[in-house]
């Protein structure tokens, strides 16, 4: 990885796009010494482009911000950002004509001296989808770096573990949760205008932060993310309490892929997996049926 070359080329490209008025804004990251890591930044003039950075701490998923941009935007997108963008396009949340993807090669980011959440399972250093490419060496070709892919296989773990072990792991994580909803806010998939937890007239809304509320929130959120999670790790990166629940979302992604052959963030044309059905879908999970689900 040559971060310096990549940064330089990124600044050049961004300045050019803004100068030509191809785009109104370039969405990227800037150095933020007070925060201690690069934070989202929106360059709006060619001079601003200088401030865009690219280094090993640039782990923020920017796809979520793209849904809030008005006017034509260029987004600096690493593979996980692009997966999220694809997911959002397939759900009609983004208009492909309204933004340019500056794809940037990435071999994984680091947070607090460790690989950032999600990076250990990333399948490729190349974004799946791009308009302008910035390779690992700063050129416009991809280098296709080997990826570690040491991420946990949740299904395998689940098959080996007992119900109690799984319950303990889940409880241990949610016990730390304070129901601040930062995971929801940072998630590309959680774009609902009014979350099920925020509805006004129902007793679903629970901010008591007792175990029942936390289970209700996290499991329902996981359910909503089934076949939509792009494994970007934003939920764990923003959590102030250190709750690591990505394994649940990942386990569901594995299940959806294995059962329905669907992977989120691959094909922008695909209908989301939970929005369609086949008449011969496997009859799993049913009483007396082939219960491969019951791990």
């Amino acid at each position: 990885m040559d971060y310096e070359m990549q940064s330089r080329r990124l600044a050049e490209i961004a300045a050019k796009l803004l100068e030509d008025e191809t785009v109104e804004a370039v969405l990227g990251l800037r150095n933020n010494p007070e925060a201690g890591w690069p934070t989202p930044y929106c360059a709006r003039t060619p001079q601003d482009a200088e401030r865009l950075v690219w280094n090993e701490a640039c782990y923020t998923n920017l796809a979520f911000y793209l849904t809030e941009m008005r006017g034509k935007t260029a987004i600096v997108a690493k593979p996980c950002d692009v997966r999220s963008i694809i997911n959002l396009i397939s759900e009609n949340q983004l208009d492909r004509d309204n933004f340019i993807i500056i794809g940037i090669e990435c071999e994984g980011k680091r947070k607090d001296g460790k690989p950032a959440p999600g990076c250990d399972a990333c399948p490729s250093s190349i974004p799946g989808f791009w308009d302008i490419a910035i390779g690992a060496d700063g050129s416009d070709t991809w280098c296709d770096l080997p990826m570690a892919q040491t991420g946990e296989n949740v299904t395998q773990w689940a098959k080996k573990s007992t119900v109690e072990e799984r319950f303990d792991r889940f409880l241990k994580e949610i016990n730390q949760c304070i129901l601040c909803y930062a995971c929801r806010q940072a998630c590309q998939g959680c774009y609902c205008v009014s979350c099920f937890m925020d509805r006004k007239a129902t007793p679903w809304e629970q901010i008591d932060a007792d175990t029942g509320s936390k289970i209700a929130f996290h499991l329902t959120r996981a359910m909503h993310l089934a076949g939509r999670c792009t494994d970007c790790g934003a939920c764990e990166k923003v959590c102030s309490s250190g709750v690591n629940l990505k394994y649940i979302y990942k386990g569901l992604s594995e299940f959806v892929e294995e059962t329905y052959g669907f992977k989120a963030g691959v094909n922008p044309e695909a209908t989301p997996v939970m929005n369609r059905y086949e008449a011969d879908d496997p009859q799993v999970a049913f009483l007396g049926g082939d219960c491969i689900v019951g791990i």
Binding site: K200, A201, T202, P203, E205
Partner: protein, 296 residues
């Protein structure tokens, strides 16, 4: 009688209230004596609850109360009955959310919990000797009713001048307290008007929004104090109309509603600028509101 903050300022304080030793969060018990269905439109979404309290309760017109149903939650309502009535108090509730929906399911004899009174009140002393012009929209009549009844009380009526009342509602069936209208209309030196949003069959009174109607009701600019209550857009339009007509903002009063939890200026919800609606309000003059950010 609880203290008032006539100009909403923090400096005008009563020593008694400052040394509030009792826990302001602990409610006292009340029992529902009667449930009155107010609106006659199809939704029937407004009811008035007449409550009998365990402990004696004193309040001034314009103050509000925190009303809870155990296990459901707490809601803020303005008093809707005259403070001179000592046997019971009334609250008018519109069914609009989870708590109010559950309140609507209550019937006579149910136990509810009350804490308060909170907030300042209408500056009744300051208004003495003046003509009064009440304008209300929909449910906005409820917090004004204590003041209306207080002023109409024979013991106090001679302290105030002429009274004009303009009551607005969406449809003829949406008026609350319509059983009082006849009584109010017959009061001496009182003009009583009603208006609805759009024409309806058999309606012979005003039609249109209140801010378009104040020109049709002659009143003495020098002697009048206006008291408004209604939904925020109505208050904004109406106060502009009054000011344009020549009434100084210091003589236009309104009562605000905000989401509230504590009622004692701690929870931070009803914060508008540096003011808390629950302790500096809910009654503000338009002059005060003009200085505050328009986040209401």
């Amino acid at each position: 009688m609880s203290v008032q903050h006539q100009d909403g300022s923090r400096n005008v304080q009563n020593q008694d209230e400052q040394k509030h030793v009792q826990n302001p969060y602990l409610p006292s018990r009340a029992v529902i004596l009667e449930v009155i269905q107010e609106t006659k439109s199809e939704t029937q979404d407004v009811k008035t609850f007449r409550l009998k309290l365990d402990a004696p309760f004193d309040y001034r017109p314009g103050q509000f109360v925190e009303f809870s149903v155990a296990g459901i939650g707490e809601c803020t309502f303005g008093f809707a009955s005259s403070p001179l009535i000592k046997d019971y108090m009334e609250l008018t509730v519109k069914r609009t959310g989870y708590v109010t929906e559950n309140i609507h399911m209550l019937s006579e004899g149910s136990t509810v919990w009350i804490r308060g009174p909170f907030g300042n009140s209408f500056p009744l002393e300051k208004m003495e000797g003046r003509d009064l012009f009440y304008v209300t929209g929909g449910l906005g009549l409820a917090p004004l009713r204590p003041m209306i009844d207080y002023v109409f009380d024979p013991a106090y009526r001679n302290r105030y001048g002429n009274i004009k009342m303009l009551m607005a509602a969406r449809t003829p069936g949406d008026f609350i307290f319509s059983y009082d209208f006849e009584k109010w209309g017959k009061m001496p030196d009182t003009e009583f008007y009603q208006t609805i949003d759009s024409p309806a069959e058999g309606w012979d009174q005003f039609v249109g929004f209140p801010h378009t109607l104040i020109e049709k009701i002659p009143f003495d600019l020098e002697k009048t104090t206006a008291v408004l209550c209604g939904p925020p857009p109505m208050i904004k339009a109406l106060s502009n109309a009054f000011v344009q007509y020549g009434l100084p903002p210091e003589r236009i009063y309104t009562t605000l509603e905000m989401r509230m939890t504590c009622g004692v200026g701690k929870c931070g919800k009803c914060n508008i600028g540096h003011r808390y609606v629950c302790i500096d309000g809910p009654v503000f003059s338009m002059a005060e509101l003009g200085e505050m950010p328009s986040e209401y």
